[in-house]
Symmetry: C2
Subunit: 432 residues, 2 copies
């Protein structure tokens, strides 16, 4: 149904790609489908324009090309040949802090404040309990409320409620727009998603944090949907704790370990609910009493998961020399372009963008709500897109999500996705 498509105003996808200073990064990723040759020789690192358009990097980032060889080396030489010697000789022991320092510049953090390990959920638990304890130490035990982003990713809410139950606090769900006004004298901690996983709305890290601090509370930020997608100014915004995922825009691989940021000022008083031997000041003393290490490493718990962690470390090398301002500019240009294409070609009343128009409130995804004639059809629309090689995902009940990863998504991808979406929607209308 590409004949339904009209010529566009403004620069074409090809013109935008030609002018894109990040375009050359695309070749660092594997973007082919399972049945497509790895490279059609045009140098763009893909099997050609009819390959997969991958707009689900907000769920699972694409494979950086250098990871397989590095992982083979880790397995075959470091584990296979050196075995336990690798804990020192191959740098395994210090990997959680070392990789944390590699993530740090991507989230606006000076070194020594991030440790990698465990899942996002487990790190949210450490951070929320740590924040509650810190606020109580400073302002008294009567601080008994944890405010949680009312639209939070579910795990964060579940974990916050568990943390509340275990620390004698209560949880109140508050829309992020009301968070600053809601923080008060009983607020121990707030837990906020920097970018809403469902709508792609970007929240104001600095403003919310400042309001929470004025109220005497501590702020925990979930940056799963912003780390690697846009500049995250953890230090400059005075965030107390942040937890992020590494398998979305950081391309660490499925279920790769999460990271925990503990602001330097708070580290010495960070009282983790998950103390483990690897965060002990003298781990090999195997002492009966827990004496926590200083610094980011206090966030460690058990033995680090080396295979996943070193795959992540290699994946992070694609960021060398990347300017986050360029990432942000391209992300906004991509989402603007996609939204404009969709608006031009999809009849009104069928798809409504849940993603804010305002740049300062937009993350790096576009979420479209199926309405009117498309109501109840989100899953079948996404299936039809997959069949056309355009991969986004959907979230119940009716949200189509398209993630734009500036390091590897092209304007041609965005163009093809919008065309395919329009085709699917129009076909769906005819069938109805």
């Amino acid at each position: 149904m590409s004949d339904a498509w009209e010529p566009q105003d403004g620069p074409s996808a090809a013109e935008l790609d030609a002018a894109d200073e990040l375009a050359h990064r695309r070749k660092d990723f594997v973007l082919d489908g399972p049945d497509v040759p790895a490279d059609d020789g045009d140098g763009d690192g893909s099997g050609g324009v009819e390959g997969v358009v991958y707009l689900d990097g907000n769920s699972l980032g694409a494979l950086p090309r250098s990871v397989p060889a590095r992982l083979a080396e880790v397995v075959e030489r470091e584990w296979g040949r050196l075995r336990i010697r690798s804990w020192s000789e191959s740098g395994w022991w210090s990997a959680p802090e070392r990789i944390g320092d590699r993530i740090a510049p991507l989230v606006g953090a000076a070194e020594g404040q991030i440790v990698v390990g465990d899942s996002t959920s487990v790190n949210v638990f450490k951070a929320v309990v740590g924040a509650v304890r810190l606020a109580r130490e400073e302002h008294g035990e009567e601080r008994d409320e944890i405010l949680v982003d009312a639209a939070t990713f579910p795990t964060d809410g579940y974990v916050a409620r568990s943390a509340a139950r275990l620390t004698g606090a209560t949880v109140r769900a508050v829309p992020v727009s009301e968070m600053a006004a809601s923080a008060g004298p009983s607020t121990a901690a707030v837990l906020v998603n920097h970018v809403d996983y469902r709508t792609g709305e970007l929240h104001d890290l600095a403003a919310v944090t400042a309001a929470v601090h004025r109220a005497g509370g501590r702020a925990v930020w979930d940056v799963c949907h912003s780390a690697g997608a846009l500049p995250v100014e953890l230090d400059a915004s005075a965030a107390d704790f942040a937890v992020g995922c590494t398998y979305k825009y950081l391309n660490g691989g499925p279920g790769s370990p999460a990271f925990l940021y503990v602001r330097r000022e708070a580290q010495g008083r960070f009282d983790s609910p998950l103390p483990g031997w690897t965060s002990h000041a003298d781990p090999f003393a195997m002492a009966d009493d827990y004496v926590p290490r200083d610094g980011a490493a206090r966030g460690r718990v058990g033995t680090p998961d080396i295979l996943s962690m070193l795959a992540l470390e290699e994946a992070l090398k694609v960021w060398e020399g990347v300017d986050l301002a360029a990432v942000r500019a391209k992300s906004l240009a991509l989402t603007d372009f996609f939204l404009a294409r969709v608006r031009t070609h999809v009849p009104p009343g069928m798809l409504t963008s849940l993603t804010p128009e305002e740049h300062r409130r937009r993350g790096s995804q576009v979420s479209l709500l199926c309405q009117g004639e498309l109501e109840g059809k989100a899953e079948s629309v996404m299936s039809a897109l997959h069949a056309r090689g355009v991969v986004g995902d959907f979230r119940r009940p009716g949200v189509l999500r398209f993630g734009f990863t500036p390091l590897y998504t092209s304007f041609a991808d965005a163009d093809r996705a919008a065309r395919a979406l329009a085709d699917v929607v129009l076909a769906s209308r005819r069938e109805a």
Copy 2:
């Protein structure tokens, strides 16, 4: 100094290896050092008798030969080409329970009771809090004591104290020999190491559990040093919870995910302190309220760490067709043989075995305490052994640990290790 060595009574290492029904399993592992050819052609899977003698499988198991190819497939095809489709098409989503079921027969568990994921420490936290809540539900909130193995691996103690603090309980350290008598009307939970990581002592899972149950408490077992080393009868012993490591005798790779066993009878009431979206009854509903899944999957928290998890799954294939009774028999024969060799050749008063003589109290390691002329020299003795290609480890202040992994340790290994140890000890004496 092999000239100090006398002929032995009893069968030789070569005779024992020739009669070993598990000997052919050795070829399934990579046992070479970094600078040794992968195979010298003698079919034993090693670079020859002068290669490494690896007796540290109780710290990090050797690499199973089939893992690198499987991991390459996971990375290159499942992540690289299929990306998010692999959550369903490649079986990623169900991996935690599926791999749990693969571990189940190795620890005497019927299927549906084990889930893989997170670190040992994090699982100990889930299990101890879960056990305390269960005991209180059954016997009232006045159950306020957690008994912890006085010689526990440190993390278990730290985590138990954190669990106690968060649940309003207290921790009392009790030697395992006194655990049964110590459990009483205030006991909520006990946390016991099945095999002592330092001495190699094996404790009586069934007897301690029965005593704890008579007192109305719940038993959590740390089976890190027994899973894969000897038969662990979780179901038959009525253990309530068990947590195990997969990178020791299960050879899953450095820091590979741990496992959590929750006895079927307790699953419906298992109230985890770490609820996450992946253990929700309807994970993709993204509901605000946590409704836990039934079964082993209730122990899940965050997104599973797929690379490490699928490496572990492949590693577990070496157990196909293995009889655990044969594993146990060989383990005891190896440790008997090694202890006898050491006793014959090391002068009295220098090395004392901390590992029990009695088979029913022995795990699969030998721990030797440096005493007399060797006092303060454990680290240098172990360094000298490493220089001779014999890899064990040491634990402060003076313990040499030698782990025997029945699937790949040969009697020739044990023989060479004992000879090298005698040489090092005698050389150390001459230097003194």
